[in-house]
């Protein structure tokens, strides 16, 4: 019996040695082998080992890790299918190691093992950004890596403090009421793209390769959601953090031009629903959070795949440069619309059966303002991800681009993902059975369906009205300032601005020190130099007189 993540590392090793000629069996074989080993594991089991007096758990299988385990195998298979045409060693090796690390993090039963896989995930995933091989991607990858290394350092610090105070490294419910808890929450929060530390996501994901972004959007943030659900269920702060995450990115998504960056902002919005559910902490809310994570991997993956396909075929991804692609990419158009309907939570699509759990829990637990915020975000997500993405890529004005649908493997991956979206949407019991929390909720009542359909149709009506009346902001080549401005512009500029003053201060300090030294040397020369009183040679008589005087003074002091 082997741990489910080992086939991925083995696959990465094989591809690294043998090269991309063997990518098809390895990329498809690793998820299958991993899934078989996961199926063979006991439903509740843990492997422990002792390491320098600490008890480590490199593999812990329970309901929660199982759900994410299955999800990641599915995601790995979809992303592998999507990137099968690629003859590039680095990307495939990095992707396999990345999936392995994500699985390792999910099955880690202690904080130290979690830390190891956490860092491995950062190191392997950044290669998918750098594989774009552009100066922009290089710099964005560097910033991405920095954010994740900081998160890793916080995790290690939290783990060590936790070991010191609790005497154990076991990764269970932690709670934000101790230093260790706060450190770990901060570590998870960075990876989860909490507000103010979210820009690594919107910065790096759109700069990665068309296939790399598909991998990226599936694993890192979902591992963070898993870690939050494991460590901090029912932490009330997360309710408000989650609500903020659902609301603020949609404003950016409306005015963003790069369609993959629109999806990156929309990811933060969707993660917000999960974080909110974890914060509410009832079994319905937790079920909603993890079920939504499951669905999000598939529909966000599908949307990223469709935009990746557009980028792959046209070389462009800005809304202002695209349009009218439904003529030449009809299949991609339909598949993208399925993803858009799923993320917008249309009834019969997957988002509907998971997001409504969180919404219902928020309303039921008396979080009225939070519920209104989530409802606003639901309308907003339909607006930017559900309408804007397909509209500006495939419809709107005809950009004149003529291309074809992407290679068969890409279409197949998107078709499977779209089929899963519809299957889960139509038969939510399939997903609910996997979720390790009790779900006392029926999504398909006339009331729920009507409410959601009204919300979406009237949001679409608003879009239509704004478009027709010319009020809708056009897609423009632009950059929108976000928190990243602080470290990409303000601090470097401030440093640059301070540089002349610093140089001046430095020069003054140096010259003052030199003057001091020169003065000292001159003084020494005056006293001890050949002409100085202490440097002159004395006659023997004078020397003896001085010694006798000193001796007399010494005896005098002793006698007194």
């Amino acid at each position: 019996m082997i741990a489910p993540y080992l086939p991925f590392f083995a696959g990465a090793l094989v591809l690294a040695v043998l090269g991309p000629r063997f990518r098809v069996p390895v990329l498809l074989g690793a998820p299958v082998a991993g899934a078989l080993s996961l199926a063979a594991l006991d439903p509740d089991s843990a492997w422990t080992l002792h390491f320098f007096g600490m008890e480590l758990t490199p593999l812990r299988v329970d309901g929660l890790s199982r759900l994410f385990g299955w999800l990641f195998h599915l995601a790995a298979l979809l992303a592998a299918l999507f990137s099968l045409h690629l003859r590039e060693r680095v990307q495939h090796v990095a992707a396999l190691a990345y999936v392995g690390a994500a699985l390792g993090a999910v099955f880690a039963g202690d904080l130290l093992t979690l830390f190891v896989f956490w860092e491995l995930m950062a190191l392997s995933s950044v290669c998918l950004v750098w594989a774009r091989r552009s100066p922009r991607a290089l710099r964005a990858g560097m910033r991405y890596l920095l954010a994740h290394i900081v998160s890793g350092v916080l995790l290690l610090a939290g783990a060590l403090v936790y070991l010191r105070t609790e005497g154990s490294l076991a990764f269970g419910e932690i709670g934000a009421d101790s230093i260790a808890g706060w450190l770990l929450l901060a570590a998870f929060g960075i990876k989860c793209a909490f507000p103010f530390v979210h820009n690594w996501l919107t910065d790096a994901y759109p700069e990665a390769t068309p296939t790399g972004t598909v991998y990226l959007c599936m694993f890192t943030t979902k591992v963070a959601v898993y870690a939050l659900a494991r460590g901090f269920p029912g932490t009330e702060l997360l309710v408000y953090v989650g609500m903020a995450m659902t609301c603020f990115p949609i404003f950016y998504a409306v005015i963003e031009n790069d369609l993959r960056r629109v999806l990156a902002y929309s990811m933060i919005n969707q993660i917000g629903f999960m974080v909110c559910g974890i914060g509410i902490g009832t079994s319905l809310a937790l079920a909603g959070a993890v079920a939504h994570a499951f669905n999000d991997v598939i529909f966000k993956g599908l949307l990223m795949m469709s935009m990746g396909a557009v980028l792959h075929m046209t070389g462009r991804i800005n809304g202002s440069d695209l349009g009218g692609l439904y003529r030449s990419m009809p299949k991609t158009t339909v598949l993208c619309i399925v993803g858009a309907a799923s993320i917008s939570a249309f009834p019969l699509f997957s988002g509907f059966v998971s997001k409504s759990l969180v919404m219902s829990a928020a309303a039921g637990e008396g979080y009225t303002w939070v519920w209104l915020g989530l409802l606003f975000a639901s309308a907003g997500v339909f607006h930017h991800a559900g309408i804007k993405i397909p509209f500006f890529a495939f419809f709107a004005h005809d950009s004149g681009i003529r291309t074809t649908d992407p290679p068969g493997n890409m279409l197949l991956a998107m078709t499977v993902a779209a089929a899963l979206c519809v299957a889960i949407g139509c038969a939510p019991g399939l997903l609910y059975a996997l979720v390790p929390f009790e779900i006392a909720y029926a999504p398909y009542t006339a009331s729920h369906v009507l409410a959601q359909t009204q919300l979406l149709f009237f949001s679409a009506l608003a879009f239509l009205w704004l478009r027709l009346s010319g009020l809708y902001p056009p897609e423009l080549h632009s950059v929108n300032l976000d928190v990243e401005w602080v470290y990409r512009r303000f601090l470097p500029d401030a440093l640059r601005r301070c540089a002349p003053a610093l140089r001046d201060l430095d020069a003054r300090l140096r010259s003052a020190a030199l003057a001091l030294l020169a003065g000292g040397a001159r003084h020494l020369h005056e006293t001890h130099g050949p002409e100085g009183p202490l440097g002159r040679s004395w006659s023997t008589r004078a020397a003896v007189a001085v010694v006798v005087l000193l001796l007399g003074a010494y005896v005098g002091v002793l006698v007194l």
Partner: protein
């Protein structure tokens, strides 16, 4: 380009789609009178709550985002605009060049 016009390219079809959509919206709003709401929140029971909320939310969202552009929008190469290896002893940056 000598392509035959597609279904969606013809204004008359676009108009038909729009009017079908308006009719669907009207039907959905009307269904509020027929279908009984078992509301998780008291406001959900109000007539047209979700319809009005969805419409207003989206209009507010888009108009607010449009205003955000005034403050936040910069030209596309804003962060890359300055070459990384700029001369060490150049004049201090004024920030003026970014106000476009």
């Amino acid at each position: 380009m000598n392509e035959p016009p597609r279904f969606l390219d013809r204004p008359v079809n676009q108009k038909r789609i729009r009017w079908t959509f308006y009719a669907l919206c009207a039907v959905l709003a009307g269904l509020d009178l027929v279908i009984h709401r078992h509301a998780e929140h008291p406001w959900e029971g109000l007539f047209g709550f979700h319809a009005i909320y969805g419409f207003v939310a989206c209009v507010v969202l888009v108009l607010a985002a449009k205003q955000m552009r005034r403050a936040l929008m910069r030209r596309e190469d804003y962060y890359e605009g300055r070459p990384e290896g700029r001369p060490r002893r150049g004049p201090p940056a004024t920030g003026k060049e970014d106000d476009a």
